[in-house]
Subunit: 256 residues, 2 copies
Amino acid sequence: MSQHRHPGAPGRAGAVPVLPDLPEATVARLPEYLRALHNLADAGHETVSSEGLSAAAGVNSAKLRKDLSHLGSYGTRGVGYDVALLIEQIEYVLGLTQRRAVALVGVGNLGHALAGYDGFASRGFRIAALLDADPSRVGEEINGLVVRHVDELPAVAAEESIAIGVIATPAGAAQRVADQLVAVGVTSILNFAPCVLSVPEGVDVRKVDLAIELQILSFHEHRKASLTALPATGGSALTALPGGLAATDTQEAIGT
Amino acid sequence: MSQHRHPGAPGRAGAVPVLPDLPEATVARLPEYLRALHNLADAGHETVSSEGLSAAAGVNSAKLRKDLSHLGSYGTRGVGYDVALLIEQIEYVLGLTQRRAVALVGVGNLGHALAGYDGFASRGFRIAALLDADPSRVGEEINGLVVRHVDELPAVAAEESIAIGVIATPAGAAQRVADQLVAVGVTSILNFAPCVLSVPEGVDVRKVDLAIELQILSFHEHRKASLTALPATGGSALTALPGGLAATDTQEAIGT
DNA sequence: AGGCGCTTGTGAAGACGTGCACAAATCGCG
DNA sequence: CGCGATTTGTGCACGTCTTCACAAGCGCCT
Ligand SMILES: NC(=O)c1ccc[n+]([C@@H]2O[C@H](COP(=O)([O-])OP(=O)(O)OC[C@H]3O[C@@H](n4cnc5c(N)ncnc54)[C@H](O)[C@@H]3O)[C@@H](O)[C@H]2O)c1
Ligand SMILES: NC(=O)c1ccc[n+]([C@@H]2O[C@H](COP(=O)([O-])OP(=O)(O)OC[C@H]3O[C@@H](n4cnc5c(N)ncnc54)[C@H](O)[C@@H]3O)[C@@H](O)[C@H]2O)c1
């Protein structure tokens, strides 16, 4: 029951007026598939099976097939997926056919690393502006971009449409920066500061918190330790803990 | 309905020999609660209601209560939770009562930022070693730590027990580094390189990929754009008078 | 002492995500 | 031209997560 559409011009051609309503979990995996596909393409593969791609992306193959089916995919039974076509499809769905402009606010310790990161450019984004509140940082040039004062945000937004704002300021300043970003029309924010941002409806915020990741790992470390410390209770279920332990978010080993 | 335990000695004293088997989703939120609780404690609050804490952590209050109930919490009906006690509880469960040693491998662009990050120390961790493969980086001193060669990893692990390994190398080197970490007994890895790591069972891997976060935001940006392009509501972002609830009604647009 | 208002802890229901297992579709080959 | 090998797409059952709604418990006030 899926519509047939032409691969060649997914964006503008006949239709695809509305994006398929993908499950959030699927959306979160598509970038992973995309990266794996690019690797495969670089390695010269023209097609790939769900089994092969799922292994490269570290997920279950049925899950991958279901994910791809959501976007009305173009697999060929008995053959697999056309790598180049699938890349085009996923990039279209993710909105990567246009190179989106990113404004980075807070050019400190972390901000410098982000500004110099080439993974931005190679994955569909372009740092359009570097902003900071510290006068001594304003004017500094990084990677061909000059750091501007954060109060120039409206001017920056007027020059070019900012798709995403990245916050790399201390936590205390993050909410104010978020407000400023929202005020100039930014509706997507990536926040590195360890705090909760409150934003109006319709604005998406994603958060990256290093300490949280470490603490989650610490929990599992703690639990592993407390398990191995247990005396060998001649009982039953306690010992193996086969599948139940595997955290959904973490990878597990597979034989490649 | 749970047993009463004395506030003074959580977990340590009588029992809690095995950690409660927490849902993974709960584990992922505990660090957020912990951060909010520290903020509240700094602000002088002695108790907090589930409503207040959930607001500070940005979650639903029922969810928070259920999360806390999983670890046999110590709320008082009609009053709320004792902030200091809850901090102690969560830190115990997360295994933060000991300051865990972190080895950071790859002291490049990103690695420098991480090495200089004080959020490590303030949230229960201690950078125990900086490692890199580039001879020209070995010997450099950052924040009082000297960068050592990655081949010294066994020696480093022998000096002190490494709880967590952080990989901040290029993707091409990440698998080899992971293997080296596993070889010296590390069972928890935080990976910043954009690639899938394969590790033996029992080793936890968490991944942080900036580009994936941006691409997820890009998807929502794309979808928002394709929605606002259709209906009559040409509204600009700032008119803060939406019709009430979010109403993710993506339906119907296909008709025309 | 007793009642009242507030807050926790949890049962239940539903939404969501996952993975198995298999029918349908396609290709290559004899 | 048909057959078998292969792989997709998906129905289904199961588990996990979320959220509502409310009884039970607690402290305070009268
Ligand atoms: N450094 C890391 O590795 C790391 C890791 C994870 C999270 N973080 C978080 O990222 C954020 C930045 O960390 P950092 O180490 O780069 O801190 P930093 O102090 O080195 O840099 C912060 C920068 O933000 C600027 N700033 C402050 N207020 C501002 C405002 N209102 N508008 C614009 N710019 C403003 C400062 O001038 C400074 O340049 C912090 O919230 C930190 O917790 C950092
Ligand atoms: N810079 C960022 O903001 C950023 C953001 C997200 C993800 N990442 C990822 O983090 C990783 C590091 O990024 P970067 O910008 O710091 O790169 P970088 O090239 O600046 O640093 C990489 C470092 O790793 C070292 N290294 C290489 N091979 C090694 C090995 N086998 N053992 C030990 N060390 C080794 C190199 O000597 C270098 O110092 C990359 O995978 C990148 O994709 C970076």
